[in-house]
């Protein structure tokens, strides 16, 4: 903050005066270039200022303000002091702050509510999701146990089937049911000329050994 003040004091105070004063600037601009007379932004650029210096001696283009630019007056700083001091206090008026804060708070309220709502929603959602996962996992475990139980049941049944399907078991059950092994088979073979030949002697099956289970009404279990 102190920097600009120092710079101005090191240089000519008169120039500072001209730049800060609206009237002086407008006059200079008009003197420099006729085409940019209406603009206020251009005079701040370096070209505009250089133009002022060059066109200064040109006659008939501007009023009597030219000599004033070149002069160095020591009364300048007196004029600048109050002007610089006036601006900052206006901006830092303490009376404006509470009103502004109130407005901001009013504007922020929905946002905060939104954030809180999102937080709550997230928490509740997470809780629900976790619960759902836990429930599903519990169910999956139960299903898995049920499957294992069914698989065991199937294995048990298959075991019975396999045990009952062996040659030895079949032979035993057949014998209990009164069946006897077939003896030698006779084959009736057709010859190419149409006649048939009986090969082997078909023997009738021997009488089954009389056993209680041979009774057809009570077949063996």
């Amino acid at each position: 903050m102190s920097q600009p003040a120092r710079a101005t004091s090191a240089r000519t105070t008169a120039r500072t005066a001209t730049t800060r004063t609206a009237t002086a600037r407008t006059a200079t601009t008009r003197t420099a270039t006729t085409r940019t007379g209406s603009t206020r932004a251009t005079p701040r650029t370096a070209t505009a200022r250089t133009a002022t210096a060059r066109t200064a001696p040109r006659p008939g283009t501007g009023p009597v303000h030219v000599p004033r630019t070149g002069s160095t007056r020591r009364t300048g700083p007196v004029a600048t002091g109050p002007q610089l001091r006036l601006v900052p206090p206006a901006r830092t008026t303490p009376t404006r702050t509470p009103a502004r804060a109130g407005a901001t708070a009013r504007r922020r309220a929905p946002f905060v509510v939104l954030l809180v709502a999102m937080l709550v929603a997230t928490t509740v959602g997470l809780l629900l999701l976790n619960t759902a996962i836990a429930v599903d996992s519990l169910e999956a475990n139960q299903q898995r146990a049920a499957i294992a139980e069914q698989a065991e049941e199937v294995a048990r049944l298959e075991q019975q089937v396999v045990a009952a399907d062996t040659a030895a078991q079949l032979a035993r059950v057949a014998a209990e049911a009164g069946l006897v092994p077939a003896g030698a088979a006779g084959h009736l073979v057709l010859q190419p000329d149409g006649s048939s030949v009986l090969l082997g002697t078909a023997e009738p099956a021997p009488e089954p050994v009389p056993a209680p289970s041979a009774d057809p009404t009570t077949p063996g279990d």
């Binding site: 102190s2 836990a134 062996t166 040659a167 032979a171 030698a184 084959h187 073979v189 002697t201």
Partner: protein, 620 residues
């Protein structure tokens, strides 16, 4: 660099002319603008000192920071993985998953061996509250004496096995016991191996030991296929050991074992086993073996011996019986070997089936004299007659025409003296000496099947060669292998090798048919309706007491195939009869006939109806 203190208060230009606080050590006139505030503060000597101290402090702090950051990098970057792993491992629980051992089935898919899930009941005696009460609760369920359980549960140990192979419905009941009774009990997977067919095919199938490794038969040779690969369940668990849903799940599933399909036919196997058991119980037979081969493929349709064993009860069986004599026991085959001698003679052009030889009743062989079964006057036998009447002298005469080395070549070509390569453990190669080492008596003995040892399977393979038109296909018992994912791989089949020409094989078949039936040595080998081909054998059994043949009894054998005009099955039977002098045609042939009859009938083989030729056995 801005001054550390608060900014100097603003003062109007006029006030500078009379400075109220002339702090500067050398005031240089009122008109001079103020000095740079920062410069003024460096002036005291204490400040310079502090500056240096601060620099050291800063350096120290930086060093600390570097150390901390460095350690962080080491922890996070270098050792990070290890620490993360340790942390993960801490949360992981591991449970083994046992691979289910594959099935063994016969050619029709009938199950010969399979595994069912069962559990091992284990206890941690240190946790068991009341050993006596727990033992009482378990004794009926596990079928173990209560005293034994109490003793185990009271041991000073952390691991005792209470019962193995407990079925799951029993362990389910154990799990439902009151908590204080079952505390300390743990259940482990312990699949049980079942052999529903029992002793039928037991010697081929084999069994597994208590640690689950195959120890005999197919269970042993196909261990790699059957065993599978155990897996491991590895999941993230919480404090109390419950699985965390959606947690880390690094489970390696178990790869179940593949199943092995054999070429055996369970029904035929059953019949063979029954028939052999009957033969073994006749009082004179101490052991008997039989094997049935498919003529065209060399596949083993049945293979049994008595006494057999039930693989499910191998623990209670005499360990000497836990083998497979069909492939591991050798015996001197006797006259069945004459088929090889004659095949060599015919193939070498030394004779045909109709060649006539004048055969004496005995023949000098070195220091020994070999006679026919009954010494006789010289007879003009045809070669067919020599085989049909099983003339030793005639066979030796033909063998001498062939020569020892050539005979040995044929013997080896028929697979004698070497393993068949069947997928069964403990196979014997038999004993066949080099012909260069044969003594004169040995050279006369080998052509008639003495002084040479073979397995039953080798003998069956010899006749398979003759039945298959002279092409030998080594016997195999594994049909295919089905992996756990259902991929079926057919077992590799060895290439058939031609041993004798088809014409020679046909002549042999013709001659061997003369053996069975009228005029031959084995009328009992006939199967009604079929033309059967075969050869009897009665070899002297070496007496183990004196290493001589005296009083050793006999090995009686019969090997043959049927039907003669289109052979389908080869059956070889041999009976060990140390106390009997009965010949093969009387005791082995009936067993052969019964087995062959069932094989042909059940196999759907129909006789062609061609008549049995008339044979000229001797020329008068």
């Amino acid at each position: 660099m801005p001054p550390a203190g608060p900014p100097p208060p603003f003062r109007p230009g006029g006030a500078r002319r009379t400075p109220a606080r002339a702090t500067g050590p050398a005031g240089r006139g009122d008109q001079r603008p103020r000095r740079d505030p920062g410069g003024r503060r460096r002036q005291p000597l204490g400040l310079a000192y502090r500056e240096q101290r601060n620099r050291w402090g800063l350096l120290f702090l930086c060093a600390l920071l570097v150390v901390v950051v460095g350690r962080l990098v080491v922890l996070q970057g270098v050792d990070g993985a290890a620490y993360a792993q340790a942390a993960t491992d801490d949360r992981m629980a591991e449970y083994p998953i046992e691979a289910v051992r594959g099935q063994i089935t016969d050619r029709n898919g009938q199950v010969l061996a399979y595994s069912v899930g069962a559990e091992r009941v284990v206890a941690d005696p240190a946790v068991v509250a009341d050993p006596t009460r727990t033992a009482l609760a378990l004794t009926t369920l596990l079928d173990v004496p209560a005293a034994e359980l109490t003793e185990k549960l009271s041991r000073d140990s952390r691991y005792v096995v209470l019962a193995r192979h407990v079925s799951t419905d029993v362990t389910e009941q154990v799990r439902e016991l009151p908590l204080d009774t079952r505390t300390g009990l743990v259940f482990e997977d312990d699949p049980v191996r079942l052999y529903p067919a029992g002793a039928v095919g037991g010697q081929v199938v084999g069994f597994v030991g208590s640690d689950g490794d195959g120890l005999a038969g197919i269970e042993q040779t196909q261990e790699d296929v059957l065993a599978g690969v155990d897996g491991e369940k590895r999941v993230e668990v919480d404090n109390s050991g419950n699985e965390i849903p959606s947690g880390i799940d690094a489970t390696t599933p178990a790869v179940d074992g593949g199943s092995v399909q054999l070429t055996l036919d369970e029904d035929l196997q059953y019949v063979v086993q029954q028939r052999l058991d009957t033969a073994c119980s006749d009082g004179a037979t101490t052991s008997a073996s039989a094997v049935a081969l498919d003529v065209h493929t060399g596949e083993v349709a049945a293979m049994a011996s008595c006494p057999g064993y039930d693989p499910g009860r191998y623990n209670d069986t005499d360990p000497d019986l836990l083998g497979n004599p069909v492939v591991s026991d050798v015996y001197e085959p006797g006259s069945v070997m004459k088929a090889v001698t004659l095949a060599a003679a015919i193939e070498e052009g030394a004779a045909t089936k109709d060649t006539v030889l004048t055969v004496d009743g005995h023949i000098q062989a070195g220091d020994a004299v070999v006679t026919d079964a009954h010494d006789h006057e010289p007879i003009d036998f045809t070669v067919t007659g020599i085989l049909a009447q099983s003339s030793n002298v005639g066979s030796i005469m033909l063998a001498r025409e062939v020569g020892d080395a050539t005979l040995e070549r044929y013997l080896r070509a028929f697979g004698l003296g070497s393993r068949t390569g069947i997928e069964l453990p403990g196979e014997s190669a038999g004993i066949l000496e080099d012909s260069a080492d044969w003594t004169e008596s040995r050279a006369a003995n080998v052509p008639i099947g003495q002084g040479i040892s073979v397995t039953t399977l080798q003998m069956a393979s010899v006749y398979q060669t003759l039945a298959n038109g002279g092409v030998r296909v080594p016997p195999r018992v594994v049909s295919s292998v089905t992996a756990a994912d259902g991929t079926v791989t057919d077992a590799p089949r060895p290439e058939g090798t031609r041993v004798v020409s088809e014409d020679t094989a046909d002549q042999l078949t013709y001659m061997l048919e003369a053996v069975v039936g009228k005029g031959g040595t084995a009328p009992l080998g006939e199967v009604d309706g079929f033309r059967v081909v075969g050869k009897t054998g009665t070899a002297q059994r070496a007496n183990p007491d004196c290493s001589c043949y005296t009083g050793g009894g006999y090995f009686t054998t019969f090997v043959g195939y049927a039907p003669a005009d289109d052979p389908q099955y080869v059956v070889a039977v041999d009976l060990e009869r140390p106390t009997s002098s009965a010949e093969g045609g009387q005791v082995a042939a009936p067993v052969f006939a019964d087995v062959m009859r069932y094989a042909l009938t059940a196999g759907g083989v129909v006789p062609s109806g061609t008549p049995r030729p008339d044979f000229t056995l001797r020329v008068d």
